[in-house]
Amino acid sequence: MGWWLQWWIGLFLMVSGFSMGRMGPAFSRSKIGYPLALFGLGLVFFSTEEGLISNEQIASETMRQTLYWALPGLFGCYIVARGSPIYNVTRPTTLAIGWVILLFSWYVLLTNYDLPGPDVVSSAITIAGLIVVFIAHIFIIRLVETLPRSNETIPPLSEIEKTYVANVLNRHLGDRED
């Protein structure tokens, strides 16, 4: 097996994990979503360039370079969001730490990235292609949603589901006096 397969499997696992992680808590697979995405990221990050063809090598190297600034960047954004004023509560220390991390990621980005590179046209074409796919799927979804619904009866909630819904409602509304 070539290393290229590991690289692609890693990418697919990242997308699968993200898709699963976005699902609500009603789906048990949502729990393994983000760990699966991290595992995929690890497969991509630690794959060697042996067996990768030219464009894959460039994409792999770009992805590695991106991770160096994107990971602290994401973490910095999370910390800034935690420290920013919400409902009159501000955490200035958290906010300052978040901005330090965010500025660090910008420093890493600007010292390793050529602005604007020859990739601008390539990026514009990629975005155009993705927009074409997006529009095609929006059209299909609209078409499917206008089709007549089946007469199939949806089964009632099971006992476990009822207990879960009751727990969620109690947790959120139980303390309200009205």
Partner: protein
């Protein structure tokens, strides 16, 4: 010109693959998946055909697909600094939000 065609075909294939993976990973019983799968496969096929036209002669379908899709991934990654700039502006806005 050939590289642009290869990038465009790659982005078509990348978009379709993302949709197909998402359908499989986030499947639930009330999804009407068949039309989406069919359209994704159609777009994937068109992308593959374009990539075969743009690839050097002798390349297999798999090699053409890998070349084109990785080119599109590279193009997508190149947009991330701009996205990060926008996110940073949003962070600046929420940090300076009046109480």
């Amino acid at each position: 010109m050939v590289e642009f065609l290869l990038t465009f075909s790659g982005s078509l294939m990348l978009g379709s693959l993302l949709v197909l993976i998402n359908i499989k990973a986030a499947y639930h019983p009330y999804h009407k998946t068949i039309p989406l799968i069919a359209s994704s496969l159609l777009i994937l096929g068109s992308g593959l055909y374009l990539s075969l036209i743009a690839s050097p002669e002798g390349d297999t379908a798999l090699t053409a697909m890998r070349q084109a899709t990785s080119l599109a991934i590279n193009g997508l990654l190149a947009t991330l600094p701009a996205v990060f700039a926008l996110v940073t502006l949003m962070m600046l806005r929420i940090s300076a939000r009046p109480q």
